[in-house]
């Protein structure tokens, strides 16, 4: 009997301790709002960086695959157009190399402390830095999608009389988009987690918010675990959505 009392006491104590910690970290001074505000920033940065990333990615992928597929005819025709495409392709390659060869935190800090020094809007800087970063990965995803389409598709389009861009638009891109959609969604999940370093340039996003609570209450467990659980919940939901999307795409693949 005594044994069970002890266990009971243990849980009662543990629970009251938990409650005390919870109140200390989230309720006192409405610190749960910090978490909500941080989450809001995380979502804003992720969403707009994602849009910027897709725009950059599409453009860079278009330049790179256009150059690859038409290299021979550019060389043959020569002139300013060919030179311009060559230069554009070079710039895109440089962009991909630099962005994928350096850590995103460093890019973020360079953007904030060196390039965009006359803005105090950290969220804006973060959107731009993460967008530029994500654009490089999205570009390669799109390009690999385009390259994965059988060359015969391209030739069939051209042999009917479609020009390069019409062939891309009507025949290649719709097929490529379908094949890369799941990979693209995974890239967005990665981006969501990567924004956790935005605190380096003074943006209070989800992670930083948790950290600020920790700094105030000197209690690490509650705020950090809460932050982790929120990321985890978002990622699990998004992953489940991607899975469903994948299944649907596979089913429509007749």
């Amino acid at each position: 009997m005594e044994f069970f009392d002890k266990i009971g006491d243990f849980f009662v104590n543990w629970f009251s301790e938990f409650k005390r910690e919870f109140i200390l970290n989230f309720v006192t001074g409405e610190k749960w709002r910090w978490i909500i505000d941080g989450l809001k920033n995380t979502l804003i940065i992720t969403f707009f960086a994602l849009i910027l990333g897709v725009v950059i990615g599409v453009v860079v992928a278009a330049v790179r695959s256009t150059y690859d597929k038409n290299r021979e005819s550019f060389r043959r025709r020569g002139g300013a157009g060919a030179f311009f495409m060559g230069a554009l392709n070079f710039v895109c390659n440089l962009y991909l190399t630099v962005i994928r060869g350096t850590p995103v935190v460093v890019q973020l800090m360079i953007m904030y402390f060196i390039i965009m020094t006359n803005t105090t809007n950290g969220v804006l800087v973060a959107v731009i830095a993460f967008g530029i970063n994500s654009g490089a990965y999205v570009a390669e995803i799109f390009r690999s999608g385009i390259m994965s389409i059988d060359g015969g598709q391209f030739e069939a389009g051209r042999s009917l009389g479609f020009n390069y861009f019409q062939t891309m638009r009507h025949i290649i891109v719709p097929q490529a988009f379908k094949t890369v959609l799941p990979t693209l969604c995974n890239e967005f999940i990665v981006l969501l987690k990567e924004t956790s370093v935005a605190g380096y340039v003074g943006v209070v996003e989800l992670t930083k918010a948790g950290d600020q609570i920790r700094g105030r209450t000197f209690s690490a467990f509650m705020p950090l675990i809460a932050v982790a659980l929120i990321y985890l919940a978002m990622v699990i939901v998004l992953t489940a959505l991607v899975r469903r999307l994948e299944r649907r795409l596979r089913r429509s693949e007749r």
Binding site: G161, F162, Q166
Partner: protein, 248 residues
């Protein structure tokens, strides 16, 4: 068509890869008249595909030129897209668009390029499908068709652009034997209607029956050409004799 009746003229055509290391075509001269059915034969790697693909500039010539309807289309300022519309092409592996139904495969180019109204494009396509016995397959997707059906769709897809010439690159080589006949039948009826055709094939029976001229290629050159009787019954070139002894 030219005054002398030639629709396609190939002059001194060379196609080299890796500098001059690989000579896929090494000086080809060829004239194709409207209404002719030219069958190209030769061992694997002899340059048959390269020649065919050069005719509509899917391969750009290293040297030489290609005249279509009297115009040099290999000249670098020519808009090749306009000429390709008039040259239908059929591939060994069909190359149907897998994300579109049969009917959409067929009407895409007429609608987008010839600006044909949708209803008219569909009607024309349905007529062609009926002729090849696939009218009931219009709404199917390519993956729901057999190889022979796919190739028949590929042929009528090219015909939807009302081309002046049809180019076939081994159209039956990827088919199971029992499906070869249905595709060859479509090609025969096309020939009977007077379509100008250039056909790369290993179907010697088809060549004998349908060809107005047979061309034998080896090493990137045309080594012999003539009527099917000449080529199959009294071959002169030793390489041609050797080739025929293997395939016949």
């Amino acid at each position: 068509m030219n005054a002398d009746g030639s629709l396609i003229e190939v002059k001194g055509l060379c196609k080299y890869y890796n500098g001059e290391a690989i000579k896929a075509l090494d000086g080809v001269d060829l004239e194709i008249r409207a209404g002719e059915v030219v069958v190209v034969i030769g061992p694997s790697g002899s340059g048959k595909s390269t020649l065919l693909r050069s005719l509509n500039l899917l391969e750009l010539p290293t040297r030489g030129c290609i005249l279509f309807d009297g115009r040099d289309i290999s000249e670098k300022h020519v808009n090749i897209n306009l000429h390709r519309r008039k040259m239908g092409m059929v591939f060994q592996h069909f190359n149907l668009f897998p994300h579109m139904s049969v009917i959409d495969n067929m009407t895409l180019a007429p609608e987008k390029l010839l600006k044909m109204p949708k209803a008219q494009a569909r009607e024309y396509a349905m007529g062609l499908l009926e002729r090849v016995g696939l009218a009931d397959r219009a709404e199917n997707y390519p993956s729901q068709l057999s190889g022979g059906q796919k190739q028949r769709v590929a042929i009528v897809r090219a015909l939807c652009m009302k081309p002046q010439v049809m180019l076939f690159d081994e159209p039956t080589s990827a088919l199971d034997p029992e499906m070869v006949g249905e595709v060859l039948d479509v090609m025969k009826s096309l020939a009977a209607e007077g379509m100008t055709m250039v056909v790369v094939t290993h179907e010697m029976g088809f060549a004998r029956e349908v060809a107005s001229r047979v061309i034998f290629m080896d090493g990137g050159r045309i080594l012999e050409q003539g009527s099917p009787q000449d080529i199959f019954d009294k071959p002169e070139n030793p390489r041609l004799r050797e080739f025929l002894s293997k395939v016949l």
